[in-house]
């Protein structure tokens, strides 16, 4: 079998135009071994054992948002998405792949990579890129065109149980977004130990996975996410996100998996 050189995707090339079937973020985002129909030139394989091939290929690919880039207008403009996804997110993926060439960090899923590179609070340089790639994937999936309104059913009940009412949750979320100083993210997480929902803020690239909680929604509060559309008006940006962009479908399915994980615990795989 001939190994082919995979060129790192460049903005002008179209090799990233294929859609990777969207993997749920709490599941295993293992691009390497998922059985999907990828054109041969895009197969990602590590060649360290092979003497014939001396090139090491890219490890992680850039996932596309599950909607067109102009689908979130007027709350998030097409230009913002073009820059945010096409330049910033892509740059994180490229930098991560560059850092991982000839690196001992091999064979991890994205979530595992984040935890490993976080190194219990003393992150190594790969952490920023890995975490930002994951965070942005999570962010695109948290939104949908014609999103917002109210969640339904069990999710609404859970929110009301943990925050008092949906508008309390909304206020707390918007408030966290406004009082975050510097670059960072705002999350709705399910705390695994306390088994309740909570709103947290993190700075730069930190993600609640590193401390073991389960993210349910995230909002990018780096300035590049909103500056073109809202300038310094973070409040309107956060309100529009909650009212018009957040995808409660994605959130519900994440909640279901998260609840199963929390209630049933980590799957115990019996060893013979």
């Amino acid at each position: 079998m001939r190994f082919q050189l995979l060129r790192s995707p460049s903005p002008s090339s179209s090799c990233c135009g294929y859609q990777i079937p969207f993997q749920p973020s709490n599941g295993v985002l293992l691009l390497r071994s998922s059985p999907m129909k990828i054109p041969k030139s895009h197969t990602k394989k590590k060649l360290s054992q092979s003497r014939r091939a001396s090139e090491v290929l890219a490890y992680y690919g850039l996932t596309t948002p599950p909607y067109k880039l102009d689908a979130l207008e007027p709350y998030m403009s097409k230009r913002t998405l073009e820059l945010h996804w096409g330049e910033h997110h892509r740059h994180y993926v490229d930098s991560l792949n560059k850092q991982l060439t000839n690196s001992p960090l091999y064979g991890y899923t994205m979530e595992e990579l984040i935890k490993v590179t976080y190194n219990n609070g003393n992150p190594i340089p790969e952490f920023n890129n890995a975490a930002q790639v994951w965070n942005h994937d999570f962010f695109w999936e948290s939104m949908q065109p014609d999103g917002g309104n109210l969640p339904c059913g069990g999710l609404l009940q859970q929110i009301e149980k943990d925050f008092g009412s949906f508008s309390n949750f909304r206020d707390e979320f918007v408030h966290s977004a406004m009082t975050l100083f510097g670059s960072g993210w705002v999350w709705l997480i399910l705390k695994t130990n306390e088994r309740r929902l909570s709103v947290v803020r993190t700075s730069n690239a930190i993600c609640p996975l590193v401390w073991g909680d389960i993210p349910i929604i995230c909002l990018d509060m780096w300035e590049h996410a909103y500056y073109l559309d809202y300038k310094d008006d973070k409040r309107t940006y956060a309100i529009n996100f909650i009212d018009h962009l957040v995808s409660w479908h994605a959130v519900t399915s994440r909640m279901m998996r998260a609840e199963a994980f929390v209630n049933l615990g980590e799957p115990k795989i019996p060893v013979a």
């Binding site: 920023n128 918007v174 100083f181 510097g182 590049h224 500056y227 310094d232």
Partner: protein, 360 residues
């Protein structure tokens, strides 16, 4: 001056460092209580180390207070323009004076009209950057310091005080960002750029090898600052505020130019450096004009906007300040030596001279 001698507080240091105060030898006449050491509780953490004379007065006032906690200082946890928070309600219990208008900070405009930096930084960008971001910091700061210890302080002192040695009080981010932005606007001028000259160029070549290398290092710092922050060129002439820390081989090279990068609102004042030049790499500084191309923004800043005259004048001030401090240190050392040598010899109880009688 009396305040500066025996009772001299170790200004700006927290409780732990107070124990490292310069120990004067005990007064002659036996073991009396050792004077001088201020208890941890007496050191007001909020007084920085700069202007000596003014500070010693303040310190003697402040030393009567305990180390302030956040609740005592009465900082609301939020800027009032945001949504009310449950946390801040319990904190409005500190003494509140009617805010004096003179004690509040004002928004200082850049030293050129807002469209003067076109086409490199558009008028709209400067208007937003100064008129909205910086203005909101000023408003939030004024609200946050009303009725607290920080009110009425100079901005630089306020920044260091609010930083509280790494455990910042809420007004820190606002004070620091105001100071940083003022510094930033003054570092630029329309038709700027070119190369530095004179003393600044000498020092650049001495400390970095060449002007190009310094620029390369500065650009690298600006581009690799992850998240929001600033890139700085600073003059490093700091010293330990510990009396017996003596540099055995003092030389002019100990004071040098350095390139640094800081996150969010931190600036080199907090490390006791003298900043000379700042580049704002928060995304709001360049996003409207350069979108994600931070490299282009930094290059344009260094090629077309930076005002090396201002940087040179800051360098002069920094060098003057360093020499003054060196003089103060030298004087202190001499006083120490004088005291040590002029002391009467300690009475030692020796055995009598006719020791030999015992051995016989």
């Amino acid at each position: 001056m009396a305040a500066a001698s025996v009772g001299a507080p170790l200004l700006g240091l927290g409780g732990a460092e107070a124990t490292l105060s310069r120990l004067r030898p005990p007064p002659p006449g036996g073991h009396e209580s050792i004077p001088l050491r201020r208890s941890a509780a007496a050191v007001a953490a909020s007084i920085p180390r700069r202007r000596e004379s003014l500070r010693s007065e303040r310190a003697s006032v402040a030393s009567s207070r305990k180390t302030p906690t956040r609740a005592m200082l009465g900082f609301p946890s939020l800027c009032p323009t945001s949504l009310p928070s449950r946390q801040s309600r319990g904190r409005n219990n500190v003494r509140r004076r009617a805010p004096v208008a003179a004690a509040l900070l004002e928004l200082k405009p850049p030293p050129y009209p807002l469209d003067a930096l076109e086409p490199h930084l558009s008028r709209e960008a400067v208007e937003h950057h100064w008129g909205r971001h910086q203005r909101s910091h000023v408003d939030c700061l004024n609200a946050a310091i009303a009725g607290t210890q920080l009110e009425g302080m100079e901005l630089e002192d306020m920044v260091v005080a609010a930083y509280n040695k790494g455990d910042p009080h809420p007004p820190f981010v606002h004070a620091a960002q105001i100071w940083n932005h003022d510094f930033f606007w003054q570092s630029m001028k329309p038709g700027g750029g070119g190369e530095p000259s004179g003393r600044l160029m000498e020092l650049i070549e001495r400390d970095f090898g060449s002007y190009e290398r310094m620029i390369k290092e500065l650009k690298h710092a600006a581009l690799t600052q992850f998240g929001s922050g600033w890139a700085w060129l600073a003059y490093k002439a700091n010293r330990l505020e510990v009396g017996n820390a003596v540099n055995p081989c003092p030389s002019e090279k100990d004071n040098k130019l350095v390139v640094a990068k800081t996150p969010n609102a931190v600036n080199p004042l907090l490390w006791d450096y003298s900043p000379l030049l700042a580049i704002d790499v928060w995304e709001h500084a360049y996003y409207l004009d350069y979108e994600n191309r931070r490299a282009d923004y930094v290059s344009t800043f260094l090629d077309k906007l930076v005002s090396w005259e201002v940087v040179s004048s800051r360098l002069e001030n920094a060098i003057n300040r360093a020499t003054e401090r060196a003089k103060v240190d030298e004087k202190r050392r001499q006083d120490d030596d004088v005291e040590a040598t002029s002391r009467k010899p300690v009475e030692m109880y020796l055995d009598s001279d006719n020791d030999d009688s015992e051995t016989e």
